[in-house]
Symmetry: C2
Subunit: 359 residues, 2 copies
DNA sequence: TTGAAAGCGCTACCAC
DNA sequence: GTGGTAGCGCTTTCAA
């Protein structure tokens, strides 16, 4: 309603005037410089605190030629709001917020919906941040390659591809996928499908691990079969429903992410199939939901706390001008109910179902 | 490894030199001022684009006395990483990222773990942002009140309390809670417990709605009973398990949030109780998970897209110096499986259980 | 130890 | 229309 005047916040010159010294002395005092006499410094700090004065970071940053800010950017293809809602990204974000803050920097969060040409170059050129952390390559491998040619302080969470120019931190996607598919084969599954979108590097690597495990597996295992699906709840659900409706035959689903795998479980149940009796399901990520559903989800754990720490650590080294190699962290297979052996399930089921008809 | 020199990015003076005009002209041209001759402007813009020049926002902001940035801050008590992971916050964040970006501003994300005295005053004084959006009051009502006395551009997502000084946007918590509890009473439940932490304003209001509905309900309904629980998966699970173990008697649980309600379902199941046959469960928020679980969750929907838009809209009006009133949005009851009538369940169950029936 | 002054990169006012 | 210039609030070099 009323447009009252905003109270002008104190500036360094005000503090200087009040304490009767020059601004440069205030600046030194507030920065804890040993040049300022002990007593004077205390007096200045006291006045500053009393007036609730905090150094203007814009002016400070202009002078110092830095921003004390890290940009965290999430490129999303057609995933929309849902994309950022994937628990994987979220847990990563929460960790990054901690780790970046701990280094005394602010965190700028940027969602890039439907990346347009030059978005990354523009983001870099605007110099709103001292460094950039990109979460997930999505379909932006090319843009990242180009940016890395001239811009150093950037680290990417994602899959490590051959001969890539940019620095990544990520899990051993191939190894993790191999382990989980081998586990499915070991528990008697023979027609395993892959549900995911191999146009994203991480998914591509997981699919590669899937193919490798099948190639090394028993001779009676069915050939690899990839059902393309974006990584949203709805997309995965629909993709699998369609596959089932079209008569696709399989006894296990390896979802490229946990969100995909959990959607697969729902699609299977809605199609009247039992998990794990009829179809085993496994995912990738080990988001917190994975352990709590019914059935709980077999998956591959990614250590996000460590991932976040590594991302931030490498980024700050790059900001300092160092060069850093990519980091591939080991993956850990987590076996839960959704991939229980069909034989075990059969036993359990027969007990329940045979009860009414006493032999 | 090698500490290569970072290439110095172009500045406005460079563009001026190249095009043979003065910086002020470049500034005007890039700002699209009608003062610059058409042809000249195009030439300048072309050179800038070619050199990949983007205006230095720090310098620009210092000159313009603003930051083109909005701070989104999430105060967390003892919830830790889990707090930010609550799907409710996350969906809100994703929307805010869109809405803030759409206004041409950047979004600073700040998690405040275990708020210390003066955190908000400090955040405001640092002037890293033109305005602040606080998501959830948590236990910071006092701090918000104090800040609002002198700082205008701040909007808070949360419950609207009597005589509060700061501007909030939120759902009608009392009304939503009343509706859901009335629904539980209507479907035959009589011993309804509230699971949540009334020290947070939103939860307090939901608890008030719960009490009001019970007070207005049938005479044979049990007195209100609040089981204190923080809003993390683990806390809610443990709180209810303990209550059950101590012999608490109830036939319905109203969780203060969906995350709490979903944890309650797990706790009940693990205790051998069937939802909704033995105990009905309802939540608040309608996060995307609520619809997809087994059983699906009865809850109160909050319109986050609208909430986010309103928050951002009010904030920008306040940044412009306007005064704005708080907004309370209507709540919508969403009835799903978790609160199905015990009679209906009984019928279904008896059909299934009477078949084997050998005692 | 403290003060004075330059200057970070930009925008806007005032001349012409 | 365009150029010159002051100044946003701060840090740091150089003098004293």
């Amino acid at each position: 309603m009323s447009k009252r005047r905003r109270p002008t916040p104190a500036k360094m010159a005000d503090i200087a005037r009040i304490t009767g010294v020059h601004v440069s002395t205030v600046s030194r005092a507030l920065a804890g410089s040993p040049l300022v006499a002990e007593g004077l410094r205390e007096r200045i700090v006291a006045v500053a605190r009393e007036r609730n004065y905090v150094v203007n970071s814009t002016a400070r940053n202009l002078r110092l030629q830095r921003t004390e800010t890290v940009s965290v950017v999430v490129p999303l293809g057609h995933e929309g709001v849902q994309g950022l809602t994937d628990p994987f990204y979220v847990e990563m974000l929460a960790h990054l917020a901690d780790d970046v803050t701990q280094r005394g920097h602010s965190m700028l969060l940027q969602k890039i919906l439907l990346p347009t040409d030059g978005w990354l170059a523009h983001l870099i050129a605007s110099r709103r941040a001292d460094g950039i952390i990109v979460i997930g390559q999505n379909t932006e491998h090319r843009a990242l390659e180009e940016a890395a040619a001239s811009y150093r302080p950037m680290v990417v969470w994602g899959g490590h591809l051959e001969r890539q120019a940019y620095c990544t931190v990520g899990t051993d996607n191939v190894g993790g996928a191999r382990a989980v598919v081998r586990h499915l084969l070991d528990t008697g599954r023979r027609r395993i499908v892959f549900l995911g979108n191999p146009s994203m590097p991480e998914m591509l690597l997981r699919e590669r691990g899937y193919r490798e495990a099948l190639a090394e597996g028993p001779g009676d295992a069915a050939a690899p079969c990839t059902i393309p699906s974006r990584f949203t709840v709805e997309a995965a659900y629909e993709a699998l429903r369609t596959f089932i409706r079209q008569g696709g035959s399989f006894d296990a689903v390896f979802g490229a992410t946990d969100v995909i795998a959990l959607s697969a479980i729902r699609a299977l149940r809605d199609a009247g199939l039992d998990v794990p009796r009829d179809v085993a399901v496994a995912g990738f990520d080990d988001v917190s939901l994975a352990a709590h559903g019914t059935p709980s989800l077999t998956t591959v754990r990614q250590d996000l706390a460590r991932g976040s720490r590594t991302l931030v650590d490498l980024l700050f080294r790059r900001i300092r001008g160092e060069d850093t190699d990519s980091v591939v962290m080991p993956a850990e297979l987590v076996v839960r109910e959704s991939s229980a052996s069909p034989l075990a399930s059969l036993r359990r089921v027969s007990r329940a179902e045979s009860a009414p008809s006493p032999p």
